[in-house]
Amino acid sequence: MLQSKSFVKKTRQGRVVKVVREHYLRDDIYCGAPSCKTCDTSAARLSTSASTILIVDTNVVLNQIDLLENPAIDDVVVLSVVLEEVRNKNLAVYNRLKALCTNSLRKYFVFSNEHHKDTYVKEMVGESPNDRNDRAIRVAARWYQNHLGVNTQILLITNDRENKRRAIEEGISAETVESYVRSLGKPDLLDLVVLSSSGDVSMEDVEDLRPSKKKVIYSEHKPMSEITSGLLHGVYHQGKLRVNRYNPFEAYVGSESIGDEIVIYGRSNMNRAFDGDIVAVELLPQDQWRDGKSMIIADDEDDEEEDVHLVPSSADDAPRNENLVQPTTGSVPPVSGRPAGRVVGIIKRNWHSYCGSLEPMPMPAGNAGVAHALFVSKDRRIPKIRIQTRQLGNLLDKRIIVAVDTWDCLSRYPSGHYVLLIENDINTRPFSSQVLACLPPLPWSLSSEDLAKTNREDLRHLMVFSVDPPGCKDIDDALHCMPLANGNFEVGVRPKHHCESLLALSDIADVTNFVLSGTPLDEEASQRGTSVYLVERRIDMLPKSLTEDICSLRSDVERLAFSVIWEMTPDAEIISTRYTKSAIKSCAALSYVEAQARMDDSRMMDPLTTDLRNLNSLAKTMRLRRIERGALTLASPEVKFQIDTETHDPLDIGMYQIREANQMIEEFMLAANVSVAEKILRHFPLCSLLRRHPSPTKEMLEPLLRTAAAVGLDLDVSSSKALADSLDRAVGDDPYFNKLIRILATRCMTQAVYFSSGDLSPSEFSHYGLAACLYTHFTSPIRRYADVIVHRLLAAALGIAKLPPIFLDGPQLTGIADNLNYRHRNAQMASRASVELHTLLYFKKRPTDTEGRIVKIKSNGFIVFVPKFGIEGPVYLVPKGDKGADWVVDEAHQRVTKAGTNITYGVLQTVRIHMEVVEPQPNRPKLELTLI
């Protein structure tokens, strides 16, 4: 049956056009209930014994998605009209709903009511689209009821009072979310229900009888139309709100329209905006602009304070404000300070779930166990969140995840509800059965079919070895080195074979053009993006059997590999490069320590050690050449723990030691990555996945320069080469000085990112830190999905396999690159959080006195970096609450002096500090540093 759908639409140019589209109605859409006699049940998803089938309204999905995700709610029919409405209103919720509908474990069925001949409704004259959609939902509900008969109850879940009333009038059973969940008799589910404050629900029981007691705390947000016109006329400025990590009452909005950051002081000016929200900001009159003395302590009503942190590893982690700090002394009028503003409206919310714990409170008596509690997020930039719970006793002293629902101008804190999720968005769930089904059976061994393939070289006779950290189980690279007759060396790097070709081998029917891109395993891996390394735990990207066995290049077993083979002169000049899939047999899996010991022991003359030495000398030459090109030797204070095997408590802590062997492996991996990047870009100029490191901007290097100037050091930052040279020259009077400067330099860099070569112009491809024009990741496909993609590209470039169609889809490849960057960043944050936690555990039992270096001066104290443990934190010179008037900051020399005395602290100065764990608020222990 054909229906014509016609509507008028405004085009981007502002013209109004009439669009006529065909709309086909079908009779082959099935109800999804397996018990149905008339329908085709092959695609049925609802459970066979379902006595009640739920049909959810749009507002229920939008507000109660956490509830829907709970496994207690099942047998749900999602109508396509609901899906469409949800997609238009909130894409994040839509994606979650879509994930629910595709999850084979959940019984969610999508019914295309809009294309079913019996459930399609035409908009009536004078009917609003909303009413029409509500009617469509009711029509579909009635159809289901008639279709499935009396044995199955159809329940329409809606929070819209009018919709519910009409449904009941039409003879459909309908309930609100609250009453339905209550009827299930599971009190813990009730916590997931978002109590809507708007007039939709029956307000009898939530009616607030004391409106006079409520006072308006925040000013009302401006309506969207006003914001749009305000932005257009330059009255308002749009930007992303970033809350200061060190002070949650100070935020910045980077505005393009005025080309500077607008500072927002205090919660009331922030006006309910969260970190990451896109907001509209109005500038305050100039006399209200404060001078930019940046305080490290919150001076507002709360007693929140500074935490001791791990050292940020790049500029992206560190707050960007310091570079804009104005001199506080002198005759500069305060108006020259940064523009201050206040938020007038929120254009796009960045609400997600936050991890933290509840503020301790006594158990309330009565009120049916419903308690209002305040949730304190682990992330200090997030305000406290009010939640309602019926299981307070259960949640107190626990780490929980809370989602934000609303924040109206009457309440000081946003209200939310608790959900259970995972932080940093890292998937720690075990792999699903579909994914595991893609794995080859264990024990796996090299079969003759693998070798029979024409494009696979048998390199098992070569002496290949791997060098990794001790205890490493996912060995994804190995090396070999062979002197050639003409005095040159043949060097091979063999990242272990990536999964899809491995699987290709297990499927003998279609070996040559078998690309397992698009299998559940592949999708899962692309979602996870990377393995996450925690202090004593690893969250894998690929299932364990692949990670630790089939793909791992362990010693004395035959494994498949993808090899890069260079012919090099003894001066490490690359004569030729060859890429091939291969079969290898590793003869030794060494640790860095072992490899170093072998190289250092002059008595050992066995072939393996000779190879190691040859490689090492090549690596040194390559390294030297790379540094000459301007590669930066940056330093990051990586910390290493010794963990008690039984209690999992950290026993010792120290900086990670870098040996020559590490550098040797690193050098060859870099070389392999660069070679592969060149190769794939040559073949696929538009769809190669590369990695770039943008040059830092002047503003980002500003703090480094200022610090350097304060200690009388002149750094040349005009290019990476110049910076590298001046870093080399920066030798102070103590051995750690140079490293400290390097650490500070590292912190000014941006993070390297993955990108698709089609998205940027070739001039932007370069990698600043490595001083390489091209770079990619090829060498660790077990733990990084980017490498898997690059393997596929390389295989296609060599003509071994076909390029999966996904690479031809530009936006999709960009999406993958973005996801990889996001996952990569999250993985780093999780690692840092894990290290921070272990640092805390370590110092809890051992208050320590140690030496620290001042890295930043603030008006009421300074930030100290403790080299021995790789942590940094604030030291206060003035007690909290005190404005600290007797300390004078000299910005030019980065010095703070006590007025009237000659007690002075300057940047990079060494101080003795005491480290101790204190717990000012329950469940929020923190490391406190005090000056001795």
């Binding site: 006529v20 589209r21 396509s80």
Partner: protein, 242 residues
């Protein structure tokens, strides 16, 4: 934009990936022409009129051993609503005219009509994607109506590749998605391809699937056109009182 709903498997207008739009053909819509037809594929509506075989108007173009086939494609000014194009004479029309002429020439038995000319006029009344295919189908019907001898009937259908799925018979929205659009014309009974156009890149194995889908579409259209012709012949038979 999601051109194929991954949850329900329907396209934007409610079709499945290998569903064609509703097709309708009508013969004898222009009384003055020797043969004429109207052909609809969903909202795409095309009219075709055939004059000839007749004497060659411009003697210099006359071919001594076969008939001269001329074709003119145009779009009615009102055919696209807002998306106004010049009705004829632009590059696109010239190209489509040429494509239709070559496709039809392949099935007309031109050697039976030396020193004569056949004019095919096709005009798009309403455009909603796939006008090229609709024009060829209309021209086939009109030629058959005019009684021009043909070796087989040519039918055409397009198929595209969006959301990693081959889709049959793209409409305007799907067409403007920018994905590959394969237009195929076949001689249905002889199983020969007379037209194959694609202005995009597609891996060869995917291309084969897409083309196969388009061929299936052509065959379905051929069956329908055969039905229309049969019906028409029966009516003529009835009129003559045989």
């Amino acid at each position: 934009m999601e051109y194929l709903d991954s949850l329900t498997g329907f396209r934007l207008d409610g079709r499945r990936p290998n569903d064609m739009r509703q097709i309708r053909g009508e013969i004898g819509v222009v009384a003055k022409a020797d043969g004429s037809a109207l052909f609809e594929m969903g909202n795409t509506k095309v009219i075709a009129a055939v004059y000839g075989p007749r004497e060659v108007q411009n003697k210099s173009q006359q071919i001594n051993n076969q008939a001269l086939v001329r074709c003119e494609y145009s779009m009615a000014n009102f055919s696209t609503g807002d998306r106004a194009r010049r009705p004829k004479g632009d590059r696109r029309s010239t190209e489509i005219s040429l494509v239709i002429r070559q496709t039809m020439e392949a099935c007309i038995l031109t050697h039976l009509m030396p020193r004569s000319q056949i004019d095919i006029f096709v005009q798009v009344l309403q455009a909603d994607g796939g006008t090229r295919s609709a024009c060829i189908n209309a021209a086939t019907l009109a030629l058959a109506d005019a009684g021009v001898p043909m070796c087989d009937i040519v039918t055409s259908c397009s198929a595209g590749y969006l959301s990693s799925t081959p889709l049959l018979d793209l409409n305007y929205i799907e067409d403007s998605a920018g994905g590959p659009d394969v237009t195929v014309g076949i001689l249905a009974k002889m199983d020969k391809v007379t037209l194959l156009q694609m202005a995009a890149k597609l891996p060869i194995d995917i291309f084969e699937n897409v083309m196969q889908l388009a061929i299936e579409g052509c065959k379905a259209i051929a069956q329908y056109i055969r039905g229309v012709l049969l019906e028409n012949t029966k009516q003529l038979e009835c009129c003559r009182g045989v």
